[in-house]
């Protein structure tokens, strides 16, 4: 895989708003690459710059080594799936798919063959002469994909392609998109605000906020090792702890899985108000006395009535259950301890009715392994709003997630 698509220091502003702020990014050939972020983060602008619908204020866009920054949209070898599909309502499915080839003045015979191939790919051979308003939402989606792919673009751009579909269809189309990507093998650039879509489809994800790339990596990296509180809270659910490094602990050799090789691990004792004795894996070599923010995913925590047995590097704290939401396969708990409301997810792998469930107001123990906490490089209190907490009283204003608020927090820092 080579570096195939490249954004070099690209910026774009509308009035005073910086939609894209000096973004550099490379995408590999054949990759399924996602731009993920809340609305107003600049992800769509970046995609539109690549498609040629917007001109960047600064920077270049390279496609297969060729500078395409100044080319009009119709001279770029990229095609787009629009959020609204933008199918031509006056043309049949067949004519929609053939549009690009006809414009390119390809021979009639070739057009017929290529369109037929596409119709087979999307399994709509029998619907070729229907107009867009006579087919279902999922079928429109497939026609939009076929209409783009038939031109054999070097990159397929997808702008929130599933946003207009209902949940069931969205899940189905998610799998179809994945299958199509495997089958045609071209590069996909996928824009979404839905972390679930990005996580399940992508080879790599760039998480964007306020026109900048916040973090770039594989879905696993982004979920397990978020660099900032924004990434941690935007992708999945998490708990933040604010404290300082109290003392480094002595190096500890642990056996790393079946390789049986000893790996040195650094642990630090942390000083966090209310919790005197917490430990965390300190891979960033943060020194004594420095401030740290810790992110721990709810599903990495255990909740129990009995105090768990003390083992090395196991953090144990006590609290009171404030809210319980039973969701069938799992239960979410919110536990009050000091100033913190900690959320915990418990997966039910065993038959639940055999045990006595934990209820409101019960005193419980929470525990997690020091390896499961993750120290963040960047923290902004605003990002706490991204975490979904149950309200503590009726009429509490929900925290809002829009770009304007995020912008406010950024200037406040």
């Amino acid at each position: 895989m080579s570096e195939f698509l490249e954004f070099q220091d690209v910026s774009k502003h509308y009035g005073d708003v910086k939609a894209v702020d000096h973004v550099s990014l490379t995408v590999k050939q054949g990759e399924f690459f996602s731009l993920l972020g809340p609305s107003g983060c600049g992800k769509t602008t970046l995609l539109r710059i690549l498609a040629g619908f917007e001109q960047p204020d600064t920077g270049r866009v390279l496609l297969g080594g060729e500078d395409v920054t100044d080319l009009p949209p119709y001279e770029r070898k990229v095609n787009t799936i629009f959020q609204s599909y933008a199918l031509f309502p006056h043309l049949s499915v067949w004519d929609n798919i053939a549009f690009g080839l006809k414009v390119a003045k390809r021979p009639k015979k070739e057009i017929k063959e290529e369109v037929a191939k596409m119709l087979t790919l999307i399994q709509m051979e029998d619907q070729a002469w229907k107009k867009p308003d006579q087919i279902s939402g999922g079928q429109k989606q497939r026609v939009a994909i076929a209409r783009a792919l038939v031109n054999k673009p070097r990159v397929l751009l997808l702008d929130e392609p599933l946003a207009a579909l209902d949940l069931k269809l969205r899940q189905r189309m998610l799998i179809e998109l994945d299958l199509i990507h495997d089958e045609v093998g071209i590069t996909f650039l996928y824009v979404t605000h839905d972390q679930g879509e990005a996580m399940s489809l992508s080879d790599r994800i760039a998480v964007m906020k306020l026109g900048k790339i916040e973090q770039l990596g594989t879905p696993e990296e982004i979920y397990e090792a978020p660099r900032s509180s924004f990434v941690a809270a935007f992708i999945g659910d998490t708990n933040f702890f604010d404290g300082t490094v109290a003392e480094p602990l002595e190096k500890d050799s642990v056996l790393n899985g079946f390789l049986a090789a000893a790996v040195d691990k650094d642990y630090s004792r942390l000083k966090i108000e209310d919790f005197p004795d917490l430990e965390c894996f300190n891979d960033k070599q943060i020194k004594e006395g420095e401030r740290v923010f810790l992110s721990i995913r709810p599903e990495k925590m255990r909740i129990s009535r009995e105090r768990p047995a003390t083992t090395p590097h196991l953090n144990i704290i006590a609290g009171t259950v404030e809210d319980v939401i039973y969701l069938g396969s799992q239960t979410k708990y919110w536990v009050r301890t000091g100033d913190y409301r900690i959320s915990i997810i418990r997966q039910h792998s065993r038959f639940l009715l055999d045990e006595k469930p934990i209820r409101w107001h019960e005193e419980v123990w929470i525990s997690w392994h020091a390896d499961d906490g993750f120290m963040l490089e960047k923290y902004s209190a605003q990002d706490e709003n991204l975490i979904q907490l149950p309200p503590e009283e009726v009429g509490e204003n929900p925290p809002s997630l829009n770009g304007a608020d995020l912008a406010g927090s950024a200037t406040a820092q």
Binding site: Y14, G15, A19, S39, G40, T44, T45
Partner: protein, 292 residues
């Protein structure tokens, strides 16, 4: 930057044809009306050279205040009647099944598409001294054989309502169709009577439609000319009739221009008021939304 300039050029390219046409053939002539008010008339019906205040002086003619007053009150009454009739119609049309609605809408639109003169003439036939309506009224002893149904202010009012009503129905219906009728249920659920719900919830909900209807009926009414000319008499003349008289009978164009200038000012005041009111109702977001 180069692309931006190309977009600007393109904007001018598609704007200029209509803009220039209307500047030359609509805006300049309208301004000309004001200018010619201050020109002398020639005995042969043309426009003389030089400048004069003669027209302004003749506009002080004691007949005019009565005509201006009649023009205004007739227009107000016509507008009020049209809106009073059109509002329940809009409500009804928005609530019936789409099939029925299509039919009622067609019935309302049909007269709107038929010749304006033919519709006025139809009333002239109906109201004629030897016409059906008159004979029916005499038969029912509702009027004497010498009562005239035609050539009076009542006839002008009736025919104006008749011709202007579709212009009130269409905007009010359009607004009613977008109205969320569950709000009426909510109002009734909270204890409001049907009439109270209609007044306190429905009417504010179709405000924009009502304002448009007002504009679409009131302003053309101010300029009525053909209706008072055909079904009205000397006691029901409006400003429009005077403008036509000065143009075609006396051939005093500066005088006609003076009256027109007066009417233009009278029209612009309600028009600007309503447009600003309406703009406040629905401020258009000019900024293009980014990446949502």
């Amino acid at each position: 930057m180069k692309a931006q300039r190309r977009v600007r050029v393109f904007e001018w390219l598609v704007t200029l044809p209509s803009l220039v046409w209307l500047l030359v053939l609509f805006l300049i002539p309208t301004v000309l009306v004001f200018a010619i008010t201050f020109k002398p008339a020639t005995p042969y019906g043309g426009i003389g050279s030089g400048w004069t205040l003669e027209t302004l002086r003749t506009l002080g003619n004691p007949n005019y205040p009565a005509i201006v007053w009649r023009t205004i009150w007739l227009s107000v009454v016509v507008t009020a009647l049209c809106i009073v009739l059109a509002t329940p119609m809009g409500y009804y049309m928005a609530r019936i099944s789409p099939r029925r609605r299509q039919m009622v809408l067609l019935l309302v639109i049909l007269p709107f598409w038929t010749s304006f003169l033919v519709r006025i003439f139809a009333w002239k036939v109906l109201l004629h001294p030897e016409g059906l309506l008159k004979q029916l009224l005499v038969f029912l002893h509702l009027c004497t054989p010498d009562t005239s149904l035609l050539y009076n202010t009542f006839a002008v009012l009736l025919v104006m309502v008749y011709t202007e009503l579709p212009f009130a129905i269409l905007p009010i219906y359009a607004a009613s169709e977008k109205f969320d009728f569950r709000l009426i249920e909510a109002a009734k659920d909270l204890g409001a009577t049907s009439f109270r719900a209609f007044r306190a919830v429905f009417l504010p909900g179709i405000r924009v439609g009502l304002l448009t209807a007002f504009l679409m009926v009131f302003i053309p009414s101010l300029g009525s000319y053909v209706i008072p000319d055909i079904v009205g008499g000397p006691t029901s003349e409006m400003i429009g009739n005077k403008i036509a008289q000065r143009t075609f009978v006396d051939r005093n164009l500066p005088h006609a221009a003076g009256l027109s200038a007066l009417l233009t000012l009278a029209v612009l005041i309600p028009m600007i008021t309503i447009t600003t009111l309406r703009r406040k109702e629905s401020p258009k977001d000019a900024l293009r939304e980014e990446g949502v």
